[in-house]
């Protein structure tokens, strides 16, 4: 057993951390202020120039597309090499993802943000040469952005078999009709391509009914109905949109891996994606704990620093212990993904998704409490952090669904073995 990072990962992790500390954190408030001004002017749905400068610097330093999984360079050939990627395993990338979670700006700066990273992985694993050429290359360059349109307002989308948006195949065309929401990133002016999960064949077996369709944002019939706030926070410029699809026609070649493959694709996308989400949340929780500790030491009431009042120390200890446990759980799941493959790590990946957002929410809540009213305002990144963690208790499957997967797996150990799966 060895808990140390590989030299490669350690080096990259340190460089990423250092870039965040020296280049990103110091400009966060400036960025926030510019965004606030843009809001007043109704210009908040476009990226701030600051971001592009940071991206250029990151790319120049080789801190670009680090999420790209080991193996993909060979798969993609030499033309992708200059676009970054370090051939990292999930285990090696995880600590880097944690670092990027410390600042809300960082994932975008390193081109490692959801949903683009997951969408790129899908195109690498399942995309045709044409699909890759058209959308993967500019995504790898950060020239365009993408969205993943799965969740629907009308159904409990955590049970993805209930999705109602249709992708009807007729000849060499696919027609999409329906409504999606919480499509992250769709507010960004560079968002050019949507991955839409939709029902193609209601008669097929449960997990072969849906297709994953590449729908250019500009196709006729695609309409962003509104951008959705999370507790009043819009996460501009990407945001989260509600989108209607009305007789949206794209060529059949836009269906990734062919009709009926959406579940297989989504499953392949989810394992590493959840590791990334969870590690970023751990970074966020670390940031909150740091802010909380600093506040606890620097503010006083009733003649003592907050750190010495009531149960504050116990809460700080509790935060440290829950973060450390959660991190180890995610790293272990990443290692299982690497060593045994996604199929053998389903329960462990559900574990991290059930554990980490709740943990992060609690740690951040504690840090907010230590900040008093300031913690609720936008003077600190805590309110946005809390909102983000809260949203991730629902996004990508609510806690309860993942908890159910873990329980089924656990009970399965003691059931008489039969051919059928639990529930």
């Amino acid at each position: 057993m060895d808990f140390s990072l590989s030299p490669r990962a350690a080096d990259l992790c340190e460089r990423v951390a250092s870039f965040i500390d020296t280049e990103i954190v110091p400009v966060e408030q400036e960025y926030e202020d510019s965004l606030a001004e843009a809001r007043v002017a109704g210009q908040q749905w476009r990226p701030l120039p600051l971001l592009h400068a940071l991206q250029a610097a990151a790319r120049e330093q080789g801190l670009w597309n680090l999420f790209l999984p080991s193996g993909c360079e060979e798969a993609l050939g030499s033309r992708y090499l200059p676009r970054g990627g370090a051939g990292l395993s999930n285990t090696d990338y995880a600590p880097i993802a944690e670092q990027t979670g410390r600042s809300f700006l960082a994932p975008m700066v390193f081109n490692c943000n959801a949903p683009d990273s997951g969408n790129m992985e899908v195109l690498i694993k399942y995309g045709s040469a044409r699909q890759r050429g058209e959308w993967l290359d500019p995504l790898l360059d950060g020239r365009i952005r993408s969205a993943f349109a799965m969740t629907e307002p009308a159904v409990a989308s955590s049970d993805a078999t209930t999705l109602e948006t249709t992708a009807t195949v007729a000849g060499d065309q696919v027609t999409v009709n329906g409504r999606k929401w919480w499509s992250t990133g769709v507010g960004h002016p560079d968002c050019e391509i949507l991955l839409v999960m939709a029902l193609t064949d209601p008669q097929a077996p449960r997990h072969a009914r849906h297709s994953m369709v590449l729908v250019p944002r500009s196709t006729a019939g695609v309409r962003v109905e509104r951008m959705l706030p999370t507790m009043g926070i819009y996460d501009e410029p990407g945001g989260h949109g509600e989108i209607s699809f009305t007789d949206v026609r794209v060529p059949l070649t836009n269906v990734i891996a062919g009709p009926g493959q959406a579940f297989a694709i989504a499953q392949g996308r989810l394992g590493p994606g959840r590791v990334h989400h969870c590690m970023r949340l751990i970074g966020l929780a670390e940031r909150a704990l740091e802010l909380g500790c600093r506040r606890a030491l620097s503010r006083s009431a009733f003649g003592k620093p907050l750190a010495d009042l009531g149960g504050n120390r116990e809460r700080i200890a509790e935060a440290r212990m829950s973060i450390d446990q959660a991190r180890l759980l995610v790293l272990h799941a990443a290692w299982l993904l690497d060593t045994r493959g996604p199929g053998a790590a389903v329960a462990e990946v559900s574990q991290i998704k059930a554990v980490v957002p709740k943990m992060a929410q609690q740690v951040i809540d504690m840090a907010i409490q230590l900040h008093g009213g300031a913690g609720l305002s936008d003077d600190f990144p805590l309110a946005a952090a809390w909102t983000h963690a809260r949203a991730l208790r629902l996004a990508d499957g609510p806690d309860e669904v993942h908890s159910g997967v873990v329980a089924s797996h656990e009970l399965g150990k003691y059931r008489p073995k039969r051919g059928t799966a639990d529930e």
Copy 2:
């Protein structure tokens, strides 16, 4: 022991509830939509006409200023009678306050919203005839609004002895200098008067140093620096503001009850105010639970209504049990305020403040989870409800401070009696 409402309270409570159900809840979404439009137009800091119509109807039906405590009619004389008030005890008003908590619009509609209600109580109990004439009358009519400026950004304001804003007395003038924030209601265009708690005599005994000064909003040197979001929510049109006071001069007659009386005034304001806050939160938690139950019954996943999945029923039961316990605790505290007076109910009032916001936050969080992504958006009043409950874990003293009061009181029962108080 008798848990039934007095006939008077029961009648008013039912009429208030019925007004909310038939007049307010049905227009909530319309109100929200109008507010959203106003935001786009930069017009969100003014009241919507809808509200005035509702206020007029409520006043006509005698559902106006019901918060006014028993005894105040006599104190104020007949001219206040037509302005409502029913001479209710804290115990009798509490269930009405619960009802008004079910809709974010209701407290304003019935002229029972914080901080106006508390400020009116202060003027009734401590105000001079002139102060009452100038500000109490229009407040009772709902013609103007007020703010309470106590919390400061620079100090841990839960320890109010640390407040740094100064109110310097010179001759028959008072000069206020400093900075306050989280002054609720100050964004409202009708907000004409601020009650400012400020330091007058640093040499006086700890609780006689501060004065409560009536500062008209239009006085030179008063500047609302910005409005503060709570997790991105601004609570327009009243909102919460950060205010700077620069050499703000008002006559000495604007000091309520004379210099050095701010603590005495604040204490008298707090008992009933906390009962009101807590009962409204209980109403809010009831609303959230109702929404949660309805969603749990109407949405299905994995072939069952959410109500029949996982631990949802246990969480619903937990919510019911924690709401009912919290309500009884608040009612009991209100009864102690009525029967023994504020001095004998300090620990019990701190209990409710420590218990209820946390309880409400949890119940609302559960209801959000049952709603999936919709719960985080503004399609339901849950996101705003959550934010409000979260803020009240800090506003008016953070949980930890109230918890400390309860503990000191509890331990005090077993200490050798001495002359000195516990901490």
Copy 3:
């Protein structure tokens, strides 16, 4: 609304409290030591003389059988009056039950202990004149003891329809066969009568299949197989037994209220019984909190009293707040039982059963923690208190079942009304 005790209840409550403080608490340790000696000698399953002396004193002071519900004196006629009872409502008796919960000895001293009190109530409400004469009179005198045999080792007895012990009627005889356990009190040498719930007619409607049979302990075929420990604690001399019934024959007249009535009887027994259990647990939690506070003030570590270390104050406050909330919930349920009857208070009675034992367990756990190792030993009544509270999370229906009742009731408010009950 009025939270004050009736003068009658207040007087009795104070006298009971005073009796416990002056007569019982001071001899607890002596009692424990004698019991420990008796254990070494194998004599622990007989009452200690100390108890009889206390009982005599309590009876002489009119503090005897106070649990007897209002109405029962008239029902029973004058011969029961000298045996005590004060005609108290559930609401009035509840605070007295709380007092008796403070000491493990008290319920027995006042002849108000489970299961005797519940069994007496059953005989009063449902017993025939012969049944009352034979068993109620000596129970009221404390001359004999009784047990309630419902739970079975072989089935999940919280679903009482699954009970398998049979009570077969043939002619004017009933034959009982089966196995019960956790029959409290059966270890006591004075335990002469068992109320056995058993299956008579498997073809009858679900809730009319079982009968409640009075089985004298000395009947042939009744065998106490063993006494059961709870975490190693046996609660001698009454204890909790596992009993086998092998062809146990009693006359048909021993069936209370006739065959098939067991569910009706059990339901009638449960409402007040749960109020009693819960109020005693509240008394127990109060005792634990008192011990915890005293320890927190008298022990020091790291240079400070425990009360001033870490989160101890917050935990003490938490205990106070959860006790007070739980007490109010139980009092309210008692009041509903009195004013609306058991049928209208089912959900509220389930609430208290789900809330109070868990609350008591937590408060006692906290007090144990403050005592260090001493809290786990038998030097303080805390270990036994903890064990008792833990057991009550299962006895008389596990938390989860009561929680389910509360949830069904809550969801039922929002279901389309139909003729059928939830689940």
Copy 4:
């Protein structure tokens, strides 16, 4: 990063697990029954022959003294090799310790039980040749047992600087006076040697005042006053004793590493000891979860297996997630002990001690609840397991103290660096 076991550890771990499954678990109930019989006969404080047979088998299979840390073979020379030990690092031994925690009998069977293992480590690291010869050899053989006498009834022993028992040096003699309790193992007839921590020089610096004295159990003046129950459970035949020392004289050569070294010795003993305790608790929690799952699948109520009722699945998932997180935390702490040494792992070792017993208590509590009344009885190892986990929230430092260490360490990261330690 690599979460796999070394081949050596994997092999031993599997063999230990297999021995427990095939040799120990099947005889647990027989052992319990024999012990129960022995209790009736007053013979419970002697080991049952069953145990000796198991020990012989374990030793024969090379599963003996596996706790012995890497490095100690060289230190001790070849004569210790046949007495077992496999030169395992903390990281490698940890999973074996987990296995031994699954059965209360196993640690004794493998001669890896507390406090003997810790005492042997002390003698290896700090003992003189004479001390080793006299006590270490027979301990390694399992011919004698030992106790560790540190905790005192009169002081909050978690602050070990307050210990009051004295070890007065005069000439070449040491005289011990005082009272200790919770000395585990002292009830065993083979317990021949006590390690007593006592005050030698009150004027010395805080952590140099106490000595660790080897006191043979048979020395005049040593008296086991009583054996202490934990919630009624005595853990015979070793148990936990209260011991008085009255003018107990031993030669100065019995002081380990010389007077004043007790703190240094205790610290060196604690790191690995806490890892062992925690890993055993994780094994215990695993056992409880397994029992809980089996019960949840095999028992039905209301027409469904318990596994499908209410929140049971979520609780099972919660247990799995908290066990897995806790295990990883302990393994990581073990790895830090191995790679950085105890001095650099203080906070991490405190973390595991604060996290694991609480986690185990909760998991076991959940499993008990699934078992109904049976879970509280001695029909399952759950009641004893719960009691053991509960006791470990106090033994070896209460949760709160460890939590405080973690918080100090965390806050220390953000303090201005000074020469002095936090508090």
